[in-house]
């Protein structure tokens, strides 16, 4: 039986954040029906993709909007459908719906990821978050009471004067893991409109990278090392579920717009709540299959994803998996970026200094 990660998408929010263009519903009345359909998808998909589940991740959206009853239903479905040998079960929590934190362990949840984003009250408001900095810290503190693994999400690049150093210093005592994302501005997001109307002034690319350097340095000094582009952890507290994405391990995604990678093929559910609720999803074989998915695609993805991590590409594993000679196949590309990578017989990784321009390095390797 194949090992796999299980991702459950909960696309419901109290209010959509301004920087988000991901699918989410603010109609909480649908939640009961949604949880039923999720349970049904889990059951059906387990027949199609029988797997031993090693990690579970409830992401969103705002999974902390789920009631204990909902969680009960979902976890019952998981356990009755799959063989579960969980190494890590994570739920994403918003500070303003964090009241059930202490109840989560009984479902087997052993890791929480809390959406702090920033501790600047003005910026928090501007990006449309409903919690205050104090509520953020409070959620982290309470999470620490119930969990050994607490992760905090931060967004950098929100403003040229954003004080990333003080944010990291403030949250570090209460967490074991930090995810720091650079603000991206999706075309259709509220924030794109705000920028256009001069109501919001994000940091420039260069300023954002300056903040990224501050984030990296501050984290390192506090004992969080960067094991992936956006992820920092105390040793041994790295996220396993997300790590499996970058390692191209199989995973099964549940919910509208969720993606699966199983048996070497990528599937995804349509981004359509109505259709989803009427049973259109991977459980019923009505999901989409990524077209023209070839070995070359898989190779590209492997390189692209593994170079996000500090460890980089495991050349031996690559060669074995694709029956190829990585260093020979990409000799010219690697030559062109020699200054920006470290390369040995076994491993190629992007030097920490050049993490923020990794796309260029990856492109050079792939296109020479």
């Amino acid at each position: 039986m194949q090992n796999a990660g299980l991702y459950i998408h909960i696309p419901f929010c109290e209010k959509r954040c301004n920087y988000c263009d991901f699918f989410s519903s603010t109609n909480k009345d649908l939640l009961d029906r949604y949880v039923d359909e999720v349970s049904s998808e889990i059951k059906r998909v387990s027949e199609r993709f029988p797997a031993k589940i090693e990690t579970i991740y409830l992401g969103g959206g705002t999974p902390s909007l789920l009631s204990l009853g909902h969680l009960d239903k979902i976890f019952s479905a998981i356990h009755s459908s799959f063989t579960v040998e969980s190494k890590e079960t994570t739920i994403e929590v918003n500070p303003n719906s964090s009241e059930k934190l202490s109840e989560y362990p009984k479902f087997g949840i052993d890791r929480v990821s809390i959406g702090i984003q920033t501790l600047d009250p003005v910026l928090l408001k501007k990006i449309g978050r409903l919690h205050t900095p104090e509520e953020g810290i409070d959620a982290l503190v309470r999470a620490g009471d119930s969990f050994d693994n607490v992760s905090a999400d931060l967004i950098i690049g929100l403003d040229k004067n954003q004080d990333v150093e003080s944010d990291v210093n403030a949250i570090a005592p209460y967490c074991t893991h930090v995810s720091g994302y650079m603000l991206s501005v999706p075309k259709k997001s509220q924030i794109a409109k705000m920028i256009k109307e001069k109501e919001f002034f994000p940091a420039s690319d260069d300023q954002t990278v300056d903040q990224y350097d501050v984030l990296t340095d501050t984290c390192r000094m506090l004992g969080f090392y960067r094991y992936e582009t956006s992820n920092f952890a105390k040793l041994g507290k790295e996220g396993i579920h997300n790590g499996n994405y970058w390692a191209m391990h199989p995973y099964i995604g549940i919910g509208p717009s969720a993606h699966s990678y199983f048996g070497g093929i990528r599937y995804y559910n349509e981004n359509d709540m109505k259709k989803y609720l009427s049973g259109c999803h991977s459980g019923n074989e009505k999901e989409k299959i990524e077209r023209k998915y070839s070995v070359e695609d898989e190779i590209t993805e492997t390189i692209m994803l593994s170079l996000r991590t500090a460890k980089g590409i495991d050349i031996k594993a690559f060669n074995k998996k694709f029956d190829a000679d990585f260093l020979h196949k990409y000799e010219k590309g690697i030559d062109a970026v020699r200054k920006y990578v470290s390369v040995t017989k076994n491993r190629l990784y992007i030097l920490p200094k050049y993490f923020s321009v990794q796309n260029q390095v990856i492109l050079s390797i792939l296109t020479h």
């Binding site: 650079m182 690319d205 582009t229 717009s257 994803l305 492109l363 792939l366 296109t367």
Partner: protein
């Protein structure tokens, strides 16, 4: 003169661009029933898409029509002419095929640069001029003023000029009647040795090169053996015919006729415009005068944006060349742009047309280098070479002297812009020749100036400084030596050959600075800092820097959805394919174009 000849009128229409030449031609064809209205596309004579879109004529298309006047049937041969300075020679040859010319003047614009150029060409060819005032339907029409202007400026009687609107068809019959009454019929001796003037040639996939001809003397039929008098080549005539407006074979063409001739000629280059065709068994003693070999004036490198399309580009150029003998090209290898072609054109418009046809008809993406002129370089060892590619210029130490082509430019403008125009001409190294008030509202300014300045940005500058009111015409007027230097552009220390230009030493600093600044804007930031330098020889005269790229990373892969990231990567990969590598610097194709563009500064 035979009775047959008395019933023929061979004429053309001359006008400044946009004054309504093609529209009048369409109306004339319509009124003579040559084309049913249903079949008519606007501007029927202009058969190329580009011509129709731009409202300009590039290829000459003759058409034969019949018109009844006072009970007699007359044959009209209308020969359309290109309306642009690039094609002056072609215009002069098509005029030579006619006895008369309809001169259209826009009732709202008056006499313009090309009006005069074309009228003078017509007068040079002893054509009878029939002036016509067009666009009288427009509220701003001032026919009386324009008639006076024609009489003052051109010196021809315009009092009986028909006042027409080609657009809505007003007074077109009057034009047709006056063609019969005022334009002369062709003379020429049917029994003399054959003299046929080639005023155009086109390539036909089945018939080979087709010569559009005017029979000046003698007659020609299928089966005759003919000789081209400029190159001595001989062929057997396979078909003669007329244009109605499509090719329609006839038994014989005789003195005074306009038609076409095919002789299984494989190469359109053998059928030079202006050449005389005669028969081998009874050849004419002298060719018709006025033949000259057309020389390209403007040169540029054309490269496929996608290097692997080199063969496609070659095939496309060869195909265009079948129909356009004025286009010349030879393979060129650039360090920056790879394999492409050095092409020679009659002028800037010709160049634009070729580029556009390559892109449109052959679906090619192109990179074109800055247009250059052809310089005569005298080396220190006394030898002379012609250089039309700046990157081929010898080392400064080997050069004794560089001479550049000079033109005589005629600019027509309302008087209020005289100051601005003279300033511009001085700036462009022009030497003042003359200034004439044509009337109260129009001035003609004459300058001698380097062709390279015209090729660079003179025309755009002129238009912007005079709000489009000034018009320009020019003809080649010899070569002049000047203090010319090669300006190189270095990217990260490497010369980018495709960006080199030859400029006057005094302009080099400003040009170098401008190119460096523009390049700084179009070259994307890369992993390392890129110095951009403009240099004359080893001396750097301008420098800009493209700072190293710092952010190019996708922060998050939500829920295992890596498609976004992959899409971005694919997009970047595509973009990179369109980049050119100079040393280790990637340059987008647009960079080569943007630096050529006039920015109004």
């Amino acid at each position: 003169m035979t009775d047959r000849q008395k019933k023929i009128r061979n004429f053309c229409i001359v006008a400044h661009i946009d004054h309504g030449k093609s529209t009048l031609a369409d109306r004339i064809m319509e009124k003579t029933g040559q084309v049913s209205e249903r079949d008519m596309k606007e501007q029927l004579l202009d058969s190329m898409d580009i011509e129709r879109e731009r409202g300009i004529t590039i290829k000459l298309t003759p058409v034969r029509m019949f018109y009844k006047h006072k009970g007699e049937e007359y044959t009209f041969n209308l020969i359309d002419t290109p309306g642009h300075v690039d094609f002056t020679y072609e215009v002069s040859r098509s005029l030579a095929a006619c006895e008369g010319a309809i001169l259209i003047v826009d009732a709202t614009q008056g006499v313009e640069a090309q009006t005069l150029t074309n009228v003078y060409l017509a007068l040079d060819n002893n054509l009878e001029i029939l002036p016509v005032i067009n666009k009288i339907d427009l509220p701003s029409a001032q026919p009386e003023k324009v008639i006076a202007e024609i009489e003052d400026v051109i010196g021809i009687d315009a009092h009986s000029a028909p006042l027409i609107s080609a657009k809505d068809g007003t007074n077109i019959e009057q034009v047709l009647d006056m063609i019969v009454e005022t334009l002369p019929c062709p003379s020429g001796d049917e029994d003399a040795p054959l003299k046929a003037l080639i005023f155009d040639s086109v390539y036909d996939n089945y018939k080979g090169a087709v010569c559009n001809i005017r029979i000046k003397d003698g007659k020609v039929s299928a089966g005759d053996r003919i000789r081209f008098m400029s190159n001595g080549k001989e062929f057997d005539v396979t078909e003669v015919g007329v244009f109605s407006p499509n090719m329609q074979p006839v038994d014989i063409l005789r003195a005074g006729d306009v038609g076409y001739l095919c002789a299984s000629i494989k190469n359109v280059k053998d059928t030079s415009v202006g050449d005389t065709i005669t028969k081998t068994d009874d050849p004419a003693k002298e060719p018709l005068h006025g033949y000259k070999k057309v020389q390209p004036m403007v040169f540029a490198g054309i490269f496929p944006a996608d290097g692997s399309k080199y063969n496609d580009l070659r095939d496309a150029l060869e195909k265009l060349n079948l129909n356009d003998a004025a286009l010349i090209f030879e393979p060129e290898n650039s360090i920056a742009l790879g394999f492409g072609f050095r092409c020679g054109f009659l002028g800037l418009l010709h160049m634009e047309i070729i580029e556009e046809r390559l892109e449109r008809e052959f679906d090619l993406d192109l990179i074109t280098t800055a247009p250059s002129v052809s310089y005569i370089v005298t080396k220190t060892d006394g030898t002379q070479i012609e250089i039309d590619n700046p990157s081929k210029l010898p080392q400064a130490t080997e050069i004794e002297r560089i001479e550049e082509p000079i033109v005589r430019a005629h600019i027509y403008t309302p008087p209020e812009y005289v100051g601005a125009i003279m300033e511009l001409c001085q700036e462009k190294r022009g030497v003042y020749i003359n200034l004439t008030y044509l009337d109260k509202s129009r001035v003609q300014i004459e300058y001698r100036m380097p062709l390279s300045e015209i090729v660079y940005d003179f025309f755009d500058n002129l238009k912007s400084k005079t709000r489009g009111y000034a018009s320009l015409d020019y003809e080649l007027d010899g070569y002049n030596p000047d203090d010319l230097v090669k300006l190189d552009i270095l990217l990260n220390g490497d010369v980018c050959d495709a960006l080199s230009v030859i400029v006057h030493r005094e302009q080099a600093y400003a040009r170098g600075r401008m190119i460096a600044e523009k390049l700084k804007d179009v070259i994307p930031r890369q992993l390392f800092e890129i110095p951009i330098q403009a240099a004359i020889g080893n001396k750097v005269i301008a420098r800009e820097t493209v700072k190293a790229l710092r952010k190019d990373v996708l922060a998050k892969c939500y829920g295992g959805d890596i498609t976004r990231k992959k899409k971005l990567l694919e997009k970047q990969k595509e973009g990179k394919k369109r980049m050119r590598q100079v040393g280790n610097v990637a340059i987008p194709s647009e960079a080569f174009m943007t630096i050529l563009k006039f920015d109004g500064k």
